[in-house]
């Protein structure tokens, strides 16, 4: 195994593009190091991106959103007042990952690129309309978060491409987001179902919404029918019923040791209702 410490994303990309065999990027390492220890993957090239300038920075972008460097740890994100004020759902989702120790290392970018269908931050980022910035052999580009994972452990980036940052859009007035997951334990667990919702209000009326589900399909899902159930209404019981029905209809889960199809589908509807209420209250100014 070759261990690389490039000082720029261009160098990182070049190393990856020229590598043969198994290549992995190392930021927080909370997935890759565990996988290496468990003999799940043994990289031929391990590219540590933590030495790249700015990789651990959170910055306001020109459009009023946030640019979160690829190696920003969950604990750093959690302590950042600006991001937490704009996107509490994204922050609370990231903070559910692992333990206090893991939070000191784990990153949004890693949580996305590990491509687990149950990754907590991913439905929250999708709901928020987040994108990732990518550097690669054909130059930089931006990809919507929902377009990054293509299946369990699989992503759409091509050889030589590397994620440099996560971009959260400007929150704008009357917006709120939230994330909840269901786990058998209170913490140190993996989502049986996860749900992220972001919406905007004009008075009591919902003017836009994005609903995302995790752990109910091979990748996290953006559920447009569920969002449609919310937009134009005031989150009355009828809207919540329609939301839950749309969420359940979108589920395509598996039966496994962590949950049955029946259970996951049912809980997706339950969580969608609960998350929508929190996001709605936050959009209305609740803390």
């Amino acid at each position: 195994m070759r261990y690389h410490t490039p000082e720029s994303f261009e160098d990182a990309s070049a190393i990856a593009a020229g590598a043969e065999g198994v290549t992995r990027y190392l930021a927080g390492g909370t997935d890759i190091l565990v996988q290496m220890r468990s003999d799940i993957v043994t990289p031929d090239d391990l590219i540590d991106i933590k030495h790249i300038v700015g990789v651990k920075e959170i910055a306001r972008s020109d459009d009023g959103g946030w640019r979160i460097g690829a190696a920003v740890a969950g604990a750093e994100l959690g302590e950042h007042d600006g991001v937490g004020a704009d996107w509490p759902g994204v922050v609370e989702a990231m903070e559910l990952v692992g333990s206090t120790q893991v939070q000191g290392r784990a990153t949004l970018t890693g949580n996305l690129c590990n491509a687990s269908p149950a990754a907590d931050s991913v439905p929250a980022m999708i709901a928020a309309g987040a994108t990732v910035s990518v550097t690669g052999p054909d130059g930089p580009r931006k990809i919507a978060v929902e377009d990054v994972p293509t299946g369990p452990g699989q992503i759409s980036l091509v050889r030589g491409e590397v994620v440099t940052a996560v971009n959260l859009p400007a929150r704008g007035p009357g917006g709120g987001d939230a994330y909840l997951r269901f786990t058998p334990r209170t913490e140190m667990d993996i989502a049986v179902v996860g749900c992220g919702i972001s919406l905007t209000r004009d008075g009591d009326t919902i003017t836009s919404a994005r609903v995302a589900l995790g752990a109910v399909a091979p990748t996290a899902l953006l559920v447009e029918a569920a969002a449609a159930a919310l937009v134009g209404g005031t989150l009355d019981d009828g809207a919540l019923d329609a939301l839950a029905a749309a969420a359940e209809a979108a589920c395509n889960p598996i039966d496994d040791k962590r949950g049955t199809i029946r259970f996951r589908t049912h809980v997706a509807g339950v969580l969608a209702r609960r998350v929508a209420k929190i996001a709605y209250d936050r959009a209305g100014g609740a803390k």
Partner: protein, 757 residues
């Protein structure tokens, strides 16, 4: 305690039970505390030796498969590899449990479960060893398998091993039923006829693991002359010595075993898994070999507890009188005999004085790892089934759950469900304390439920040897042979200090190795504070007699005329003479020229371990939309006989409740249709984390055990007997539907709620 080691405890020494103390009953810091919180304590994996190799074990990926061939040639040629062993490198000709341990430690002709060891190798680095292990080629012929206890008893189920049954098993049973138990008294049919309400139900529990933090680990050194040393984490190093000697084929005294600090055992470290393998590798490589299990190996190939399938029937009159009880308990303990079904049977109805009672147990083999003891083996499952039925009877008849239990409670002089007549026991006292506790009368939140359960454990004595050596400055060095799994060094030091009349800090307690002390049975059966404690007190009293003799010689009076008071020899009365008290340090300072070193000792197999009862109160809430449960309040009331170190007694109470919460709500061995374990790690084998637990309140009841000089009863195991039932009763009462299967994971609770609607 191992199944073949339970003997009825018949009574203890004739001494009066002491009740006045100056040190016993206080809670000083544990002597091993600083080492443990600073990382200085040395656990199983913390030993190193010059030239040490690292051993790795190759395990079967199949639930049941004949081993056609093993080709080790590529592994032997791999970089760094110094030795490869298979079954041929171990001794043969064992019988009984020695044979079962040998077969479990390294498979012979057949791999009997997913994770069964089939070969091992040692290399200069762990990485080399792991790489080389992949080069060992095992050809398997896959056989049909069975992992479920009920399936394994059915006609046509795959046979784990023909001829494994002993002669207790009734004719016509499937060969997987290997042992049978039946006990009770009276005529249960007559008793059921006298009842106003009879409830019979079926209950199921999953196999669970002890979940100790520290994986099995050892460092073995063995030469060509057969002399060997072994460092390992274990609950009983003499048993390790015995089992290793039998499996590698040496005399026991050639092997010296030292017990490391231990990161939890709960019964799971009462036998051997990797130790004989490390010794065989060391012998072949002629180098020290260290073997450390991964967590996955711990789950797949150490000793979880039995899973069960149980039927319980109880009759009750309208006034709460229980008229009869019958239980059938089917326990699977993996691919070898030993599931604790007789304990399950015997503990089931122990809290109740029943005129008519019958209990039947079946020990069933399946393609799972060989079960090991887990904290009161067999009892928690029995309590789950029995106490659930009692709760249902109380609900249906509109009776108070504590009053009903008090009405039927076992007391001194009543006949136990499994035979003997009770001596002094504390069940009624725990029920009275529970009834008086504010928890029992606290209002419940809407949608919450409360559960009550009693629980019983035998406790155990066992072979015990203790030596106390005095230092010249009057401090004492106590050598015990029972590894400290629950703060026992603190308890021993308190008892020794109490007898000698010296400060607690002046007693150093060491867990001695097998070459330094007489035989000691394993730290199991909640026996350590009872048996090693009793031996410590007697060794201290032996020391005091010798100290008094030195004073008598100095004063020129009879030894009988000297007594011991507050750390000093004093004349026993005015007639004995007028001498100033002679302190312990002044006696010891000159011991070299007044008769030589002063050493006290005691060796015995004490049989007066008092049984122990507990009553638990649990509140739980159920999220009716997701099936998630939350234990919101928990109170343990248990008879400790006499709490030597009350804080550690409370710790044992809380630890049992915490493990019980995991067992009741989320922990289970999950096997796929291929017979492979699906959740060999702490992510998907869900022991509770801190935030899953409420504050666990404790009440220590002290009904002295006549078999111990201070009245001690073991406390380590009884605390896990009531939780499964108490939590199930709380959840069932909150949900409004009876939960008859563990764990009560959210999907199971939700399905029960949906089926109810």
């Amino acid at each position: 305690m191992a199944l073949d080691e339970y003997t009825e405890q018949t009574g203890g020494p004739a001494d009066e039970i002491r009740s006045e103390f100056t040190k016993v009953g206080t809670s000083p810091d544990r002597p091993d505390g600083i080492d443990k919180v600073t990382g200085r304590a040395r656990f199983g994996a913390d030993a190193y030796a010059p030239g040490m190799l690292h051993g790795v074990i190759v395990r079967s990926p199949h639930a049941h498969a004949r081993i056609v061939s093993i080709d080790t040639s590529r592994a032997e040629a791999a970089p760094g590899v110094k030795a490869v062993v298979t079954r041929a490198d171990f001794a043969d000709g064992q019988s009984g449990e020695d044979w079962a341990v040998m077969e479990n430690v390294m498979a012979g002709d057949t791999a009997l479960y997913d994770g069964h060891a089939v070969a091992a190798l040692a290399a200069t680095s762990l990485l080399e060893a792991r790489d080389a292990a992949r080069l060992i080629e095992v050809e398997y012929q896959i056989l049909p398998h069975v992992t479920d206890v009920d399936e394994a008893m059915k006609d046509g189920a795959p046979v784990i091993r023909e001829g494994a049954a002993d002669n207790s098993v009734p004719a016509g049973m499937h060969p997987n039923v290997v042992r049978y138990h039946s006990s009770g008294h009276g005529d249960v049919d007559q008793g059921f006829a006298e009842a106003d309400l009879v409830i019979e139900d079926h209950f199921v529990t999953a196999a669970t693991h002890q979940g100790y933090i520290e994986p099995h680990a050892c460092l073995a050194t063995m030469g060509g002359d057969g002399r060997a040393e072994l460092w390992c984490c274990t609950q009983g190093h003499w048993n390790v010595q015995k089992l290793c000697a039998a499996t590698v084929g040496i005399e026991q005294s050639k092997l010296r075993v030292t017990a490391s600090e231990i990161g939890g055992g709960f019964g799971g470290k009462t036998t051997v898994f990797v130790e004989p393998v490390a010794l065989a590798l060391s012998r072949k490589a002629n180098k020290p070999v260290k073997v450390v299990m991964t967590r996955s190996e711990v789950f797949r190939a150490s000793g979880p507890t039995a899973s069960t399938s149980m039927d319980v029937k109880i009759g009750m009159k309208k006034d709460g009188t229980m008229t009869a009880a019958r239980g059938v308990f089917r326990c699977q303990g993996g691919a070898f005999p030993g599931a604790p079904m007789e304990f399950t049977s015997m503990c089931a109805f122990a809290p109740y004085a029943l005129k008519h009672v019958s209990q039947i147990g079946y020990d069933v083999m399946t393609n799972r790892p060989k079960q090991a003891a887990y904290r009161a083996p067999g009892s928690p499952m029995a309590a789950f089934a029995v106490e659930s039925v009692v709760d249902e009877l109380c609900n249906k008849l509109g009776l108070d759950p504590i009053e009903v239990r008090l009405k039927n409670a076992s007391r001194m002089g009543t006949k136990a469900s499994f035979g003997p007549t009770w001596d002094r026991i504390g069940l009624v006292e725990t029920l009275e304390e529970a009834k008086a506790h504010p928890h029992f009368s606290a209002p419940l939140a809407p949608g919450a439920g409360r559960g009550i359960s009693c629980g019983f454990w035998f406790n155990h004595g066992g072979e015990t040897s203790v030596t106390m050596a005095m230092s010249e400055d009057g401090s004492a060095q106590l050598m015990v042979g029972t590894p400290d799994i629950g703060g026992s060094r603190a308890s021993m030091a308190l008892m020794a200090a109490e007898e000698l009349g010296i400060p607690y800090e002046n007693v150093r307690v060491t867990v001695a190795d097998t070459a330094s002390l007489g035989y000691n049975e394993v730290s199991h059966g909640s026996r350590v504070t009872y048996a090693s404690g009793l031996a410590t007190i007697q060794a201290a009293r032996d020391t005091v007699r010798k100290l008094c003799a030195r004073a008598a010689a100095k004063w020129g009076i009879d030894e009988d005329a000297v007594t011991w008071q507050d750390g000093c020899a004093v004349p026993s009365g005015p007639n004995a003479g007028d001498f100033d008290p002679l302190p312990i340090d002044r006696i010891c300072r000159v011991m070299g020229r007044t008769g030589g070193p002063i050493v006290g000792h005691y060796e015995a197999t004490p049989e007066g371990a008092g049984v122990s009862f507990a009553t638990h109160i649990v509140d739980a809430e159920v999220d009716r939309e997701t099936g998630a449960t939350k234990v919101t309040r928990y109170t343990v009331v248990q008879d400790a006989g006499k709490a030597i170190h009350p804080t550690y007694v409370e710790g044992q109470f809380q630890g049992g409740a915490a493990q019980g919460i995991g067992w009741a709500l989320n922990e289970e061995y999950v096997y796929g249709p291929d017979g492979r374990l699906q959740n060999a790690g702490f992510l998907d084998y869900r022991i509770p984390v801190a935030s899953d637990l409420p504050m666990i309140d404790t009440v220590i009841v002290e009904v002295p055990n006549p078999g111990h000089p201070y009245g001690v009863r073991g406390v380590g195991e009884t605390s896990i007997c009531p939780p499964l039932a108490a939590i199930a009763n709380a959840v069932s009462n909150a949900a409004g539907v009876r939960m008859r299967q563990l764990p009560m994971r959210p999907s199971r609770v939700l399905e029960a709620l949906e089926d109810q609607d």
